[in-house]
Protein backbone atom coordinates (compact mmCIF):
# COMPACT_ATOMS: atom_id res chain seq x y z
CA UNK A 1 0.00 0.00 0.00
CA UNK A 2 2.78 2.33 0.89
CA UNK A 3 4.45 1.46 -2.37
CA UNK A 4 1.37 2.28 -4.37
CA UNK A 5 1.14 5.55 -2.52
CA UNK A 6 4.64 6.29 -3.60
CA UNK A 7 3.88 5.57 -7.25
CA UNK A 8 2.89 9.15 -7.91
CA UNK A 9 6.08 10.43 -6.40
CA UNK A 10 8.16 7.85 -8.20
CA UNK A 11 6.45 8.69 -11.45
CA UNK A 12 7.19 12.35 -11.08
CA UNK A 13 10.77 11.66 -10.19
CA UNK A 14 11.11 9.33 -13.16
CA UNK A 15 9.45 11.79 -15.47
CA UNK A 16 11.87 14.42 -14.34
CA UNK A 17 14.78 12.01 -14.62
CA UNK A 18 14.02 10.69 -18.10
CA UNK A 19 12.89 13.97 -19.49
CA UNK A 20 15.93 15.77 -18.30
CA UNK A 21 18.36 12.98 -19.11
CA UNK A 22 17.25 13.01 -22.72
CA UNK A 23 16.73 16.72 -22.76
CA UNK A 24 20.02 17.83 -21.29
CA UNK A 25 21.87 15.68 -23.79
CA UNK A 26 21.43 18.26 -26.44
CA UNK A 27 23.63 20.72 -24.63
CA UNK A 28 26.47 18.23 -24.63
CA UNK A 29 26.49 17.63 -28.35
CA UNK A 30 27.79 19.79 -31.13
CA UNK A 31 25.36 21.37 -33.44
CA UNK A 32 26.08 19.00 -36.29
CA UNK A 33 24.34 15.67 -36.50
CA UNK A 34 26.53 12.83 -35.24
CA UNK A 35 28.47 11.11 -37.98
CA UNK A 36 29.13 14.28 -39.92
CA UNK A 37 32.05 16.65 -39.90
CA UNK A 38 32.74 20.20 -40.94
CA UNK A 39 36.14 20.84 -42.45
CA UNK A 40 38.00 23.81 -43.90
CA UNK A 41 41.26 24.52 -45.63
CA UNK A 42 44.28 24.25 -43.42
CA UNK A 43 45.19 27.87 -44.05
CA UNK A 44 41.89 29.05 -42.61
CA UNK A 45 42.27 31.03 -39.40
CA UNK A 46 38.82 30.32 -38.10
CA UNK A 47 39.05 27.85 -35.23
CA UNK A 48 35.47 27.05 -34.45
CA UNK A 49 31.91 27.77 -35.49
CA UNK A 50 28.56 27.64 -33.83
CA UNK A 51 25.36 26.41 -35.36
CA UNK A 52 23.97 29.80 -36.30
CA UNK A 53 27.15 30.75 -38.10
CA UNK A 54 27.15 27.45 -39.84
CA UNK A 55 23.60 27.87 -40.94
CA UNK A 56 24.24 31.36 -42.20
CA UNK A 57 27.20 30.16 -44.18
CA UNK A 58 25.20 27.48 -45.87
CA UNK A 59 22.30 29.87 -46.47
CA UNK A 60 24.85 32.11 -48.18
CA UNK A 61 24.13 34.87 -45.74
CA UNK A 62 27.72 34.96 -44.65
CA UNK A 63 29.89 34.95 -47.71
CA UNK A 64 33.24 36.07 -46.41
CA UNK A 65 35.46 34.53 -43.75
CA UNK A 66 36.22 38.01 -42.52
CA UNK A 67 32.85 38.19 -40.87
CA UNK A 68 33.83 35.20 -38.79
CA UNK A 69 37.22 36.53 -37.76
CA UNK A 70 39.24 34.99 -40.56
CA UNK A 71 41.06 36.37 -43.53
CA UNK A 72 39.13 38.33 -46.08
CA UNK A 73 38.24 35.52 -48.39
CA UNK A 74 35.18 34.38 -50.20
CA UNK A 75 33.52 31.35 -48.70
CA UNK A 76 32.98 28.44 -50.97
CA UNK A 77 30.35 26.11 -49.73
CA UNK A 78 30.83 22.44 -50.32
CA UNK A 79 28.40 19.58 -49.84
CA UNK A 80 29.14 15.99 -50.76
CA UNK A 81 26.95 16.11 -53.82
CA UNK A 82 28.91 19.14 -55.04
CA UNK A 83 31.89 16.91 -55.69
CA UNK A 84 30.66 16.32 -59.20
CA UNK A 85 31.31 20.00 -59.93
CA UNK A 86 34.99 19.41 -59.29
CA UNK A 87 35.62 15.91 -60.53
CA UNK A 88 34.21 13.72 -63.24
CA UNK A 89 32.54 10.48 -62.44
CA UNK A 90 35.49 8.51 -63.71
CA UNK A 91 37.80 10.28 -61.33
CA UNK A 92 35.56 9.31 -58.43
CA UNK A 93 35.51 5.72 -59.46
CA UNK A 94 32.59 3.50 -60.36
CA UNK A 95 31.49 3.00 -56.80
CA UNK A 96 32.62 6.38 -55.63
CA UNK A 97 35.50 4.64 -53.95
CA UNK A 98 37.79 7.65 -54.46
CA UNK A 99 35.31 10.13 -53.05
CA UNK A 100 36.93 10.55 -49.62
CA UNK A 101 40.32 11.23 -51.14
CA UNK A 102 38.87 13.69 -53.57
CA UNK A 103 37.10 15.60 -50.84
CA UNK A 104 40.37 15.92 -49.05
CA UNK A 105 41.97 17.08 -52.23
CA UNK A 106 39.43 19.68 -53.20
CA UNK A 107 39.52 21.09 -49.71
CA UNK A 108 43.24 21.45 -49.82
CA UNK A 109 43.01 23.13 -53.17
CA UNK A 110 40.39 25.73 -52.37
CA UNK A 111 41.41 28.05 -49.49
CA UNK A 112 37.99 29.54 -48.90
CA UNK A 113 36.12 26.29 -48.92
CA UNK A 114 34.03 24.85 -46.13
CA UNK A 115 32.92 21.25 -46.45
CA UNK A 116 30.16 19.22 -44.81
CA UNK A 117 30.34 15.46 -45.23
CA UNK A 118 29.91 12.21 -43.34
CA UNK A 119 32.80 11.36 -41.08
CA UNK A 120 33.20 8.01 -42.81
CA UNK A 121 34.65 9.97 -45.75
CA UNK A 122 37.42 11.30 -43.56
CA UNK A 123 40.66 9.85 -44.98
CA UNK A 124 43.67 9.07 -42.85
CA UNK A 125 45.96 11.79 -44.10
CA UNK A 126 43.23 14.39 -44.36
CA UNK A 127 44.53 17.53 -45.98
CA UNK A 128 41.94 19.88 -44.63
CA UNK A 129 41.26 21.01 -41.10
CA UNK A 130 38.34 19.47 -39.24
CA UNK A 131 36.66 22.25 -37.33
CA UNK A 132 35.70 21.51 -33.77
CA UNK A 133 32.14 22.80 -33.37
CA UNK A 134 30.71 24.58 -30.40
CA UNK A 135 28.10 22.80 -28.37
CA UNK A 136 24.58 24.07 -28.45
CA UNK A 137 24.30 26.50 -25.58
CA UNK A 138 21.34 26.92 -23.28
CA UNK A 139 21.07 30.55 -24.27
CA UNK A 140 21.10 29.61 -27.93
CA UNK A 141 18.42 27.05 -27.37
CA UNK A 142 16.11 29.25 -25.37
CA UNK A 143 16.82 32.47 -27.19
CA UNK A 144 17.29 31.25 -30.73
CA UNK A 145 14.60 32.46 -33.04
CA UNK A 146 14.82 29.73 -35.62
CA UNK A 147 13.54 26.22 -35.34
CA UNK A 148 14.73 24.09 -38.26
CA UNK A 149 15.38 20.75 -36.68
CA UNK A 150 16.05 19.02 -39.99
CA UNK A 151 18.22 21.69 -41.57
CA UNK A 152 21.51 20.56 -43.12
CA UNK A 153 24.26 20.75 -42.16
CA UNK A 154 23.35 22.34 -38.88
CA UNK A 155 19.90 21.89 -37.41
CA UNK A 156 18.57 25.03 -35.78
CA UNK A 157 17.06 24.58 -32.35
CA UNK A 158 15.84 27.99 -31.33
CA UNK A 159 12.96 27.36 -28.96
CA UNK A 160 12.08 31.01 -28.53
CA UNK A 161 9.28 31.11 -31.11
CA UNK A 162 7.82 27.97 -29.60
CA UNK A 163 7.97 29.28 -26.05
CA UNK A 164 6.53 32.55 -27.22
CA UNK A 165 3.87 30.78 -29.23
CA UNK A 166 2.88 28.70 -26.22
CA UNK A 167 2.62 31.73 -23.99
CA UNK A 168 0.89 33.71 -26.69
CA UNK A 169 -1.84 31.18 -27.28
CA UNK A 170 -2.30 30.62 -23.56
CA UNK A 171 -2.57 34.33 -22.99
CA UNK A 172 -5.18 34.77 -25.70
CA UNK A 173 -7.03 31.82 -24.25
CA UNK A 174 -7.01 33.18 -20.73
CA UNK A 175 -7.99 36.67 -21.84
CA UNK A 176 -11.00 35.20 -23.56
CA UNK A 177 -11.83 32.58 -20.99
CA UNK A 178 -11.32 34.51 -17.77
CA UNK A 179 -14.13 37.05 -18.18
CA UNK A 180 -16.47 34.43 -19.51
CA UNK A 181 -15.48 31.86 -16.92
CA UNK A 182 -15.57 34.30 -14.06
CA UNK A 183 -18.96 35.59 -15.12
CA UNK A 184 -20.27 32.07 -15.30
CA UNK A 185 -18.77 31.18 -11.94
CA UNK A 186 -20.30 34.25 -10.34
CA UNK A 187 -23.60 33.49 -11.99
CA UNK A 188 -23.51 29.90 -10.76
CA UNK A 189 -22.35 30.66 -7.27
CA UNK A 190 -24.25 33.83 -6.51
CA UNK A 191 -27.05 34.58 -8.90
CA UNK A 192 -28.56 31.47 -10.40
CA UNK A 193 -31.34 29.65 -8.64
CA UNK A 194 -30.99 26.01 -7.76
CA UNK A 195 -32.61 24.66 -10.90
CA UNK A 196 -30.46 26.65 -13.28
CA UNK A 197 -27.43 25.59 -11.30
CA UNK A 198 -28.33 21.94 -11.45
CA UNK A 199 -28.66 22.30 -15.18
CA UNK A 200 -25.51 24.32 -15.81
CA UNK A 201 -23.09 22.40 -13.64
CA UNK A 202 -23.25 19.08 -15.52
CA UNK A 203 -23.11 20.94 -18.81
CA UNK A 204 -19.85 22.53 -17.78
CA UNK A 205 -18.54 19.16 -16.66
CA UNK A 206 -19.43 17.78 -20.07
CA UNK A 207 -17.49 20.61 -21.64
CA UNK A 208 -14.50 19.41 -19.66
CA UNK A 209 -15.04 15.83 -20.79
CA UNK A 210 -14.90 16.39 -24.54
CA UNK A 211 -11.58 15.05 -25.84
CA UNK A 212 -9.16 17.64 -27.11
CA UNK A 213 -8.89 15.99 -30.49
CA UNK A 214 -12.60 16.53 -30.95
CA UNK A 215 -12.18 20.17 -30.04
CA UNK A 216 -9.37 20.32 -32.55
CA UNK A 217 -11.59 18.80 -35.20
CA UNK A 218 -14.35 21.26 -34.40
CA UNK A 219 -11.87 24.11 -34.49
CA UNK A 220 -10.49 23.00 -37.81
CA UNK A 221 -13.79 22.63 -39.59
CA UNK A 222 -15.73 25.46 -37.94
CA UNK A 223 -13.61 28.10 -36.23
CA UNK A 224 -10.78 28.24 -38.73
CA UNK A 225 -13.03 28.86 -41.75
CA UNK A 226 -15.04 31.43 -39.83
CA UNK A 227 -11.89 33.32 -38.89
CA UNK A 228 -10.61 33.07 -42.41
CA UNK A 229 -13.74 34.60 -43.84
CA UNK A 230 -14.30 37.22 -41.17
CA UNK A 231 -10.82 38.65 -41.20
CA UNK A 232 -9.97 37.78 -44.81
CA UNK A 233 -6.92 35.78 -43.89
CA UNK A 234 -4.87 33.55 -46.12
CA UNK A 235 -5.50 30.80 -43.66
CA UNK A 236 -7.65 30.81 -40.60
CA UNK A 237 -5.10 28.67 -38.84
CA UNK A 238 -3.70 31.18 -36.41
CA UNK A 239 -2.87 32.01 -32.86
CA UNK A 240 -6.35 33.39 -32.51
CA UNK A 241 -7.97 30.12 -33.54
CA UNK A 242 -5.83 28.26 -31.03
CA UNK A 243 -6.62 30.84 -28.39
CA UNK A 244 -10.34 30.58 -28.94
CA UNK A 245 -10.24 26.83 -28.82
CA UNK A 246 -8.07 26.77 -25.72
CA UNK A 247 -10.36 29.31 -24.11
CA UNK A 248 -13.27 26.94 -24.56
CA UNK A 249 -11.18 24.11 -23.17
CA UNK A 250 -9.93 26.13 -20.21
CA UNK A 251 -13.42 27.33 -19.32
CA UNK A 252 -14.41 24.35 -17.16
CA UNK A 253 -11.22 24.59 -15.10
CA UNK A 254 -11.63 28.31 -14.56
CA UNK A 255 -15.32 28.03 -13.79
CA UNK A 256 -14.96 25.17 -11.33
CA UNK A 257 -11.98 26.53 -9.47
CA UNK A 258 -13.24 30.08 -9.21
CA UNK A 259 -16.71 28.89 -8.26
CA UNK A 260 -15.13 26.94 -5.43
CA UNK A 261 -13.28 30.07 -4.42
CA UNK A 262 -16.49 32.10 -4.46
CA UNK A 263 -18.20 29.45 -2.38
CA UNK A 264 -15.46 29.79 0.19
CA UNK A 265 -16.63 33.29 0.99
CA UNK A 266 -18.38 32.90 4.32
CA UNK A 267 -22.09 33.45 4.15
CA UNK A 268 -21.70 35.79 7.09
CA UNK A 269 -19.88 38.23 4.80
CA UNK A 270 -22.69 38.25 2.29
CA UNK A 271 -25.32 38.67 4.97
CA UNK A 272 -23.39 41.44 6.66
CA UNK A 273 -23.13 43.31 3.40
CA UNK A 274 -26.78 42.85 2.51
CA UNK A 275 -27.79 43.87 6.00
CA UNK A 276 -26.06 47.20 5.43
CA UNK A 277 -28.37 47.95 2.56
CA UNK A 278 -25.96 46.88 -0.18
CA UNK A 279 -27.56 45.32 -3.23
CA UNK A 280 -26.71 41.80 -4.23
CA UNK A 281 -24.61 43.12 -7.06
CA UNK A 282 -22.67 45.45 -4.78
CA UNK A 283 -22.13 42.57 -2.42
CA UNK A 284 -20.73 40.45 -5.23
CA UNK A 285 -18.47 43.20 -6.52
CA UNK A 286 -17.23 44.59 -3.26
CA UNK A 287 -17.20 41.62 -0.95
CA UNK A 288 -17.46 38.23 -2.58
CA UNK A 289 -15.12 38.71 -5.53
CA UNK A 290 -12.41 40.54 -3.57
CA UNK A 291 -12.63 37.93 -0.84
CA UNK A 292 -12.07 35.13 -3.32
CA UNK A 293 -9.64 37.04 -5.49
CA UNK A 294 -6.75 34.76 -4.65
CA UNK A 295 -8.80 31.71 -5.57
CA UNK A 296 -9.75 33.35 -8.83
CA UNK A 297 -6.14 34.20 -9.54
CA UNK A 298 -5.28 30.59 -8.84
CA UNK A 299 -8.02 29.57 -11.26
CA UNK A 300 -6.57 31.80 -13.95
CA UNK A 301 -3.08 30.43 -13.43
CA UNK A 302 -4.33 26.87 -13.46
CA UNK A 303 -6.20 27.70 -16.65
CA UNK A 304 -3.00 29.03 -18.19
CA UNK A 305 -1.21 25.90 -17.07
CA UNK A 306 -3.81 23.71 -18.73
CA UNK A 307 -3.74 25.79 -21.87
CA UNK A 308 0.05 25.63 -22.11
CA UNK A 309 0.04 21.87 -21.98
CA UNK A 310 -2.77 21.32 -24.41
CA UNK A 311 -1.57 19.49 -27.46
CA UNK A 312 -3.90 18.10 -30.04
CA UNK A 313 -6.36 20.92 -30.47
CA UNK A 314 -3.61 23.46 -30.79
CA UNK A 315 -1.68 21.27 -33.15
CA UNK A 316 -4.67 21.15 -35.44
CA UNK A 317 -5.64 24.80 -35.63
CA UNK A 318 -2.64 27.04 -35.11
CA UNK A 319 -1.00 26.42 -38.43
CA UNK A 320 2.27 25.26 -36.91
CA UNK A 321 4.64 27.90 -38.17
CA UNK A 322 7.67 28.02 -35.97
CA UNK A 323 8.23 31.74 -36.21
CA UNK A 324 8.00 34.50 -33.71
CA UNK A 325 4.36 35.60 -34.08
CA UNK A 326 3.64 39.26 -34.72
CA UNK A 327 -0.12 39.29 -34.64
CA UNK A 328 -2.89 37.05 -33.43
CA UNK A 329 -3.88 36.33 -37.01
CA UNK A 330 -0.57 34.74 -37.86
CA UNK A 331 0.04 31.04 -37.60
CA UNK A 332 2.24 30.02 -34.74
CA UNK A 333 3.39 26.90 -33.01
CA UNK A 334 3.42 25.77 -29.44
CA UNK A 335 5.79 23.48 -27.58
CA UNK A 336 3.40 20.55 -27.15
CA UNK A 337 2.31 20.77 -30.76
CA UNK A 338 5.93 20.70 -31.85
CA UNK A 339 6.62 17.62 -29.81
CA UNK A 340 3.53 15.87 -31.09
CA UNK A 341 4.22 16.75 -34.67
CA UNK A 342 7.91 16.01 -34.81
CA UNK A 343 8.69 13.24 -32.37
CA UNK A 344 7.38 10.63 -34.75
CA UNK A 345 9.92 11.67 -37.36
CA UNK A 346 12.88 12.25 -35.13
CA UNK A 347 15.33 9.35 -35.00
CA UNK A 348 15.68 8.06 -31.49
CA UNK A 349 18.72 9.39 -29.65
CA UNK A 350 19.44 11.95 -32.34
CA UNK A 351 19.82 15.65 -31.88
CA UNK A 352 16.26 16.34 -32.94
CA UNK A 353 14.94 13.71 -30.53
CA UNK A 354 16.89 15.23 -27.69
CA UNK A 355 15.75 18.71 -28.63
CA UNK A 356 12.14 17.63 -28.39
CA UNK A 357 12.77 16.21 -24.94
CA UNK A 358 14.34 19.49 -23.98
CA UNK A 359 11.15 21.16 -25.11
CA UNK A 360 9.31 18.67 -22.93
CA UNK A 361 11.44 19.77 -19.99
CA UNK A 362 10.65 23.40 -20.64
CA UNK A 363 6.95 22.62 -20.86
CA UNK A 364 7.17 20.54 -17.71
CA UNK A 365 8.83 23.37 -15.83
CA UNK A 366 6.32 25.88 -17.11
CA UNK A 367 3.26 23.86 -16.15
CA UNK A 368 4.57 22.63 -12.82
CA UNK A 369 5.53 26.13 -11.80
CA UNK A 370 2.09 27.35 -12.84
CA UNK A 371 0.55 24.66 -10.67
CA UNK A 372 2.77 25.38 -7.71
CA UNK A 373 2.06 29.07 -8.04
CA UNK A 374 -1.69 28.49 -8.13
CA UNK A 375 -1.45 26.24 -5.09
CA UNK A 376 0.69 28.74 -3.25
CA UNK A 377 -1.62 31.65 -3.97
CA UNK A 378 -4.77 29.88 -2.88
CA UNK A 379 -3.09 28.50 0.24
CA UNK A 380 -1.65 31.84 1.22
CA UNK A 381 -5.05 33.42 1.40
CA UNK A 382 -6.50 30.61 3.42
CA UNK A 383 -4.03 31.26 6.19
CA UNK A 384 -4.70 34.98 6.32
Amino acid sequence: MRISALVTSITIIMIVFFLFREGVGIFKSPSVEKGYVIAVNKSNAVETLNSTQLKNIYDQEITNWKTLGGKSQEITVFRVEDITNYYSEEELGANMEYLPAKISEVLAKTPGMIAFFPSTYLVKNFKGKVLPLKNISVANFLGGTEWFPTAQPSAQFGAWPLILGTLYVSLIAILLALPLGLATAVYLAEIADKRTRNFLKPVIELLAGIPSVVYGFFGLVVIVPILKNTFHLDSGQSGLAGGILLAIMALPTIITVSEDALHNTPNAMREASLAMGASKWQTICRIVVPYSSSGITAAAILGIGRAMGETMAVLMVTGNAAVVPHSIFEPLRTIPATIAAELGEAPQGGLHYQALFTLGCILFIMTVSANLMAGYISKKKRLA
Binding site: D193, A268, A272, A275, M276, G277, R286
Partner: protein, 250 residues
Amino acid sequence: MHKIETKEINLHYGNFHALKGINLVAKENTVTALIGPSGCGKSTYLRLFNRMNDLIDNVEISGQVLVDGEDIYGRKVQVDDLRKKVGMVFQKPNPFPKSIYENVAYGLRVNGINDKKFIEERVVSSLEQAALWEEVKDKLNKSAFELSGGQQQRLCIARALAVQPSVLLMDEPASALDPLSTSKIEELIHTLKKDYTIIIVTHNMQQAGRVSDYTAFFYMGTLVEFNETKIIFTNPKNIQTQNYITGRFG
Protein backbone atom coordinates in the same frame (compact mmCIF):
# COMPACT_ATOMS: atom_id res chain seq x y z
CA MET B 1 -46.92 54.51 17.78
CA HIS B 2 -44.44 51.89 18.75
CA LYS B 3 -41.03 51.66 17.22
CA ILE B 4 -41.51 48.06 16.25
CA GLU B 5 -44.61 45.99 16.23
CA THR B 6 -45.54 42.64 14.78
CA LYS B 7 -49.10 41.56 14.32
CA GLU B 8 -50.08 37.93 13.92
CA ILE B 9 -46.85 36.95 12.21
CA ASN B 10 -46.83 33.48 10.71
CA LEU B 11 -43.82 32.18 8.87
CA HIS B 12 -43.41 28.92 6.98
CA TYR B 13 -40.26 27.34 5.63
CA GLY B 14 -41.83 25.07 3.08
CA ASN B 15 -43.96 22.82 5.27
CA PHE B 16 -42.34 23.87 8.48
CA HIS B 17 -44.35 26.33 10.52
CA ALA B 18 -41.54 28.33 12.07
CA LEU B 19 -43.39 31.24 13.63
CA LYS B 20 -46.93 30.92 14.89
CA GLY B 21 -48.92 34.08 15.28
CA ILE B 22 -46.43 36.32 17.00
CA ASN B 23 -47.64 39.61 18.45
CA LEU B 24 -45.02 41.77 20.02
CA VAL B 25 -44.24 45.41 20.60
CA ALA B 26 -40.87 47.03 21.16
CA LYS B 27 -40.71 50.57 22.49
CA GLU B 28 -38.24 53.13 21.31
CA ASN B 29 -34.87 53.18 23.09
CA THR B 30 -35.35 49.89 24.83
CA VAL B 31 -33.53 46.61 24.59
CA THR B 32 -35.68 43.61 23.90
CA ALA B 33 -34.14 40.19 24.34
CA LEU B 34 -35.43 37.15 22.51
CA ILE B 35 -34.66 33.96 24.37
CA GLY B 36 -35.60 30.34 23.94
CA PRO B 37 -34.09 26.97 23.10
CA SER B 38 -32.39 26.37 19.74
CA GLY B 39 -34.81 26.17 16.86
CA CYS B 40 -37.54 28.04 18.70
CA GLY B 41 -37.73 30.63 15.97
CA LYS B 42 -36.10 33.55 17.73
CA SER B 43 -33.44 34.13 15.08
CA THR B 44 -36.01 33.74 12.34
CA TYR B 45 -38.15 36.28 14.11
CA LEU B 46 -35.23 38.69 14.41
CA ARG B 47 -34.52 38.41 10.71
CA LEU B 48 -38.02 39.52 9.90
CA PHE B 49 -37.18 43.07 10.79
CA ASN B 50 -34.61 43.64 8.08
CA ARG B 51 -36.10 41.07 5.74
CA MET B 52 -33.06 38.82 5.79
CA ASN B 53 -35.47 35.93 5.51
CA ASP B 54 -36.07 37.06 1.94
CA LEU B 55 -32.72 35.51 1.05
CA ILE B 56 -33.99 32.04 1.81
CA ASP B 57 -36.11 30.14 -0.68
CA ASN B 58 -39.52 28.83 0.19
CA VAL B 59 -40.31 31.29 2.91
CA GLU B 60 -43.87 32.44 3.31
CA ILE B 61 -44.80 35.20 5.68
CA SER B 62 -48.22 36.42 6.72
CA GLY B 63 -49.14 39.13 9.17
CA GLN B 64 -47.67 42.56 9.61
CA VAL B 65 -44.27 43.79 10.68
CA LEU B 66 -44.40 47.47 11.49
CA VAL B 67 -41.35 49.65 11.93
CA ASP B 68 -42.27 53.21 12.78
CA GLY B 69 -45.81 52.26 11.95
CA GLU B 70 -45.00 51.23 8.40
CA ASP B 71 -45.50 47.70 7.17
CA ILE B 72 -42.03 46.73 5.99
CA TYR B 73 -43.38 43.93 3.84
CA GLY B 74 -45.55 46.42 1.99
CA ARG B 75 -45.19 46.87 -1.74
CA LYS B 76 -43.68 50.32 -1.66
CA VAL B 77 -40.94 49.43 0.75
CA GLN B 78 -37.46 49.20 -0.68
CA VAL B 79 -35.44 46.56 1.05
CA ASP B 80 -32.23 48.55 0.74
CA ASP B 81 -33.79 51.48 2.55
CA LEU B 82 -35.22 49.25 5.21
CA ARG B 83 -31.87 47.67 5.84
CA LYS B 84 -30.30 51.07 6.23
CA LYS B 85 -32.84 51.86 8.90
CA VAL B 86 -32.57 48.49 10.59
CA GLY B 87 -28.94 47.56 11.20
CA MET B 88 -27.78 44.09 12.06
CA VAL B 89 -24.93 42.54 14.00
CA PHE B 90 -24.24 38.88 13.57
CA GLN B 91 -23.32 35.97 15.75
CA LYS B 92 -19.72 35.73 14.73
CA PRO B 93 -17.69 38.84 14.12
CA ASN B 94 -17.69 39.09 10.35
CA PRO B 95 -15.61 42.07 9.30
CA PHE B 96 -15.01 42.37 5.58
CA PRO B 97 -11.52 41.61 4.33
CA LYS B 98 -10.78 45.30 4.13
CA SER B 99 -9.15 47.87 6.35
CA ILE B 100 -10.81 48.94 9.57
CA TYR B 101 -11.67 52.25 7.99
CA GLU B 102 -13.17 50.71 4.88
CA ASN B 103 -15.23 48.33 6.93
CA VAL B 104 -17.01 51.18 8.62
CA ALA B 105 -17.22 53.22 5.43
CA TYR B 106 -18.68 50.32 3.48
CA GLY B 107 -22.31 51.00 4.27
CA LEU B 108 -21.94 54.61 3.22
CA ARG B 109 -20.17 53.78 0.02
CA VAL B 110 -22.68 51.21 -1.14
CA ASN B 111 -25.36 53.76 -0.55
CA GLY B 112 -23.80 56.12 -2.98
CA ILE B 113 -22.03 58.51 -0.62
CA ASN B 114 -18.71 59.72 -1.97
CA ASP B 115 -18.04 62.82 0.12
CA LYS B 116 -14.71 61.98 1.72
CA LYS B 117 -15.00 64.37 4.60
CA PHE B 118 -18.47 63.22 5.44
CA ILE B 119 -17.42 59.59 5.37
CA GLU B 120 -14.44 60.27 7.57
CA GLU B 121 -16.53 62.07 10.16
CA ARG B 122 -19.06 59.30 10.18
CA VAL B 123 -16.39 56.63 10.51
CA VAL B 124 -14.88 58.36 13.50
CA SER B 125 -18.19 58.96 15.22
CA SER B 126 -19.34 55.40 14.62
CA LEU B 127 -16.13 54.00 16.04
CA GLU B 128 -16.48 56.27 19.03
CA GLN B 129 -20.04 55.15 19.54
CA ALA B 130 -18.93 51.56 19.40
CA ALA B 131 -16.29 52.30 22.03
CA LEU B 132 -13.56 51.23 19.67
CA TRP B 133 -12.06 54.52 18.59
CA GLU B 134 -9.39 54.70 21.24
CA GLU B 135 -8.18 51.21 20.42
CA VAL B 136 -8.01 51.57 16.64
CA LYS B 137 -7.42 55.23 15.91
CA ASP B 138 -3.77 54.61 15.10
CA LYS B 139 -4.34 51.68 12.79
CA LEU B 140 -7.36 52.57 10.71
CA ASN B 141 -5.66 51.31 7.57
CA LYS B 142 -4.72 47.96 9.01
CA SER B 143 -6.74 44.92 8.06
CA ALA B 144 -9.79 44.35 10.20
CA PHE B 145 -8.61 40.80 10.76
CA GLU B 146 -5.76 42.06 12.91
CA LEU B 147 -8.23 42.97 15.64
CA SER B 148 -9.19 40.62 18.43
CA GLY B 149 -12.53 38.86 18.30
CA GLY B 150 -14.16 41.29 20.66
CA GLN B 151 -12.77 44.26 18.80
CA GLN B 152 -13.95 42.78 15.52
CA GLN B 153 -17.45 42.49 16.89
CA ARG B 154 -17.40 46.08 18.03
CA LEU B 155 -16.13 46.99 14.59
CA CYS B 156 -19.13 45.20 13.14
CA ILE B 157 -21.33 47.22 15.44
CA ALA B 158 -19.60 50.42 14.35
CA ARG B 159 -20.10 49.32 10.75
CA ALA B 160 -23.80 48.89 11.40
CA LEU B 161 -24.01 52.24 13.19
CA ALA B 162 -22.32 54.11 10.35
CA VAL B 163 -25.44 54.12 8.19
CA GLN B 164 -27.30 55.57 11.17
CA PRO B 165 -30.02 53.03 11.67
CA SER B 166 -32.64 53.58 14.32
CA VAL B 167 -33.07 49.91 15.07
CA LEU B 168 -30.24 47.51 15.79
CA LEU B 169 -30.76 43.78 15.48
CA MET B 170 -28.24 41.57 17.21
CA ASP B 171 -28.13 37.86 16.60
CA GLU B 172 -26.24 36.38 19.53
CA PRO B 173 -23.62 39.09 19.22
CA ALA B 174 -21.40 37.77 21.98
CA SER B 175 -21.74 34.03 21.68
CA ALA B 176 -18.42 33.68 19.88
CA LEU B 177 -16.50 35.88 22.28
CA ASP B 178 -14.58 35.47 25.49
CA PRO B 179 -16.17 36.71 28.73
CA LEU B 180 -14.26 39.97 28.81
CA SER B 181 -15.23 40.88 25.27
CA THR B 182 -18.74 39.73 26.04
CA SER B 183 -19.07 42.12 28.92
CA LYS B 184 -17.70 44.92 26.77
CA ILE B 185 -20.34 44.22 24.15
CA GLU B 186 -23.01 44.08 26.83
CA GLU B 187 -21.91 47.41 28.20
CA LEU B 188 -22.00 48.79 24.70
CA ILE B 189 -25.54 47.58 24.22
CA HIS B 190 -26.48 49.26 27.45
CA THR B 191 -25.06 52.58 26.30
CA LEU B 192 -26.41 52.33 22.76
CA LYS B 193 -29.90 52.01 24.17
CA LYS B 194 -30.00 55.78 24.51
CA ASP B 195 -30.04 56.24 20.74
CA TYR B 196 -31.29 53.00 19.31
CA THR B 197 -34.02 50.49 19.66
CA ILE B 198 -32.28 47.19 20.09
CA ILE B 199 -33.51 43.68 19.65
CA ILE B 200 -31.11 40.97 20.65
CA VAL B 201 -31.27 37.23 20.30
CA THR B 202 -29.33 35.40 22.94
CA HIS B 203 -28.82 31.91 24.19
CA ASN B 204 -27.45 33.19 27.41
CA MET B 205 -30.19 33.97 29.85
CA GLN B 206 -27.88 35.89 32.15
CA GLN B 207 -27.05 38.05 29.20
CA ALA B 208 -30.70 38.71 28.52
CA GLY B 209 -31.07 39.64 32.18
CA ARG B 210 -28.09 41.93 32.13
CA VAL B 211 -28.76 43.88 28.97
CA SER B 212 -32.45 43.92 28.27
CA ASP B 213 -35.46 45.85 29.46
CA TYR B 214 -37.95 43.45 27.95
CA THR B 215 -37.69 39.76 27.37
CA ALA B 216 -39.62 37.54 25.01
CA PHE B 217 -39.50 33.81 25.52
CA PHE B 218 -40.00 31.75 22.37
CA TYR B 219 -40.74 28.09 22.29
CA MET B 220 -41.49 25.98 19.20
CA GLY B 221 -42.39 28.99 17.11
CA THR B 222 -44.72 30.59 19.61
CA LEU B 223 -44.20 33.58 21.83
CA VAL B 224 -44.78 32.04 25.23
CA GLU B 225 -44.26 35.07 27.38
CA PHE B 226 -43.30 38.67 26.87
CA ASN B 227 -42.78 41.08 29.71
CA GLU B 228 -40.35 43.30 31.49
CA THR B 229 -37.11 41.46 31.97
CA LYS B 230 -37.27 41.93 35.74
CA ILE B 231 -40.61 40.24 35.86
CA ILE B 232 -39.63 37.44 33.53
CA PHE B 233 -36.60 36.73 35.67
CA THR B 234 -38.16 36.99 39.07
CA ASN B 235 -41.73 36.03 38.61
CA PRO B 236 -42.59 34.58 35.21
CA LYS B 237 -46.25 33.91 34.70
CA ASN B 238 -45.77 30.89 32.51
CA ILE B 239 -44.47 27.61 33.84
CA GLN B 240 -42.51 26.93 30.63
CA THR B 241 -40.78 30.26 30.94
CA GLN B 242 -39.93 29.51 34.52
CA ASN B 243 -38.59 26.09 33.64
CA TYR B 244 -36.49 27.56 30.87
CA ILE B 245 -34.95 30.40 32.81
CA THR B 246 -34.31 28.23 35.82
CA GLY B 247 -32.65 25.63 33.66
CA ARG B 248 -35.14 22.89 34.44
CA PHE B 249 -36.20 22.71 30.86
CA GLY B 250 -37.21 19.49 29.17
